[in-house]
Point group: C2
DNA sequence: TGATTTATGTCCCGCCTCTTGACATCTTTG
DNA sequence: CAAAGATGTCAAGAGGCGGGACATAAATCA
């Protein structure tokens, strides 16, 4: 049985993340105040530091949770198609559309006072990147049994980086990008496909 | 702002009451184990004692919460009518019907191993009685402005005791009892009614 | 330019709550 | 009669949160 204390701990973290999320979305990372996060949750400033270490830790934790939710949607699109190439195309399009609508992404990239927050998806993006690689990797290896694990990983890695690039620096429309990636990576997948 | 600690405290109490409620409903008061209440909630046995004092305290707390919920329904019936006598009749009928269906009432009165629990509504029923008097009193004084407070209180007190008696020791059908009480107390209310 | 304000990050200590283990007591069961 | 199981009490210990103080850096204001 999970203890009440453990559930309470998780709830605390969750409520802190809610408060931080709201603050970032409405005012940007620079406007985020550690004391506010605590106050909104009904907890001291020290407790926020105990939970996340520092202000950047808060942003990373918010991003990690948001990414997890994001990936649920993307994985859903991925596994909605039997053919890997179709799944890839659908997942890319879904990811780009979701990112375009996502308040946190907008706050990190678009709003003023997001000099630092934007690095979350660029120079300091390892965390998000690795999280996506891992989650997508697991999911793809399950749903693409005909593609060798190593090749699936490579494919995911390339597509992921292109998608991230398009999120940070938008190019063509989501559907067009998805089609482009499917066409470029399609032959690779086809050539590596096994019985 | 309410502190996180305060909310957590309330949540703990609520979850303990949920666990105790389930245990009582499924096995009766005698089958209730303090250690189980703690285990189901994910806290130690001592914490249960800290919160409720002793086993009877658990039962009283469960009953108090259930009574509060019960009264919400009854008060709703009471205030659905402009005329006090109609409200009285409706409230009595609602109360008796609710009690007849209530799992906790059944567990306290009907099930085997409820020798002690049944006292909750009889020889040790002051707590529930007073809670009802208070809540109903407040509500009636608000919704029966034409009846002097003292007379309203007396009316509520008499009706409440009759209803409780019918719950513990059922007589006629709820609607018939309600009609009877309305007829018996009606003249009193009418005579005391003011402009 | 210098002073003030504001926010981050760290440290420390007091307080409160929960946990754990032990114990006495009573009742039920074998 | 002995063992098991439950209630109720006590004390010691651990962990987390609150609150205050502080150093530091950046922005603001005079």
């Amino acid at each position: 049985m999970e203890s009440f204390a453990e559930r309470t701990k998780r709830r605390l973290r969750d409520e802190l993340l809610d408060a931080a999320y709201d603050a970032i979305v409405s005012g940007g990372y620079d406007e985020l105040r550690m004391a506010d996060v605590g106050r909104r949750t009904g907890v001291s400033r020290q407790t926020v530091y105990n939970e996340f270490g520092d202000k950047w830790g808060v942003l990373e934790a918010v991003a990690a949770r948001e990414t997890e939710r994001f990936l649920v949607d993307v994985n859903e699109a991925l596994s909605a198609h039997a053919d890997p190439i179709d799944g890839l195309r659908a997942a890319v399009e879904r990811a780009l559309n979701l990112a375009a609508d996502n308040p946190l992404v907008k706050a990190a990239l678009g709003q003023p006072g997001s000099d630092q927050a934007s690095q979350l998806l660029t120079t300091r993006g390892q965390q998000v990147l690795e999280l996506c690689q891992q989650r997508l990797g697991i999911h793809v290896r399950e749903h693409w049994p005909e593609v060798p694990a190593e090749d699936a990983t490579a494919c995911v890695d390339v597509a992921l980086r292109v998608v991230l690039s398009h999120i940070v620096n938008p190019g063509a429309a989501p559907a067009a990008v998805a089609e482009q990636i499917a066409q470029v990576l399609g032959p690779f997948l086809t050539s590596r496909r096994q019985v």
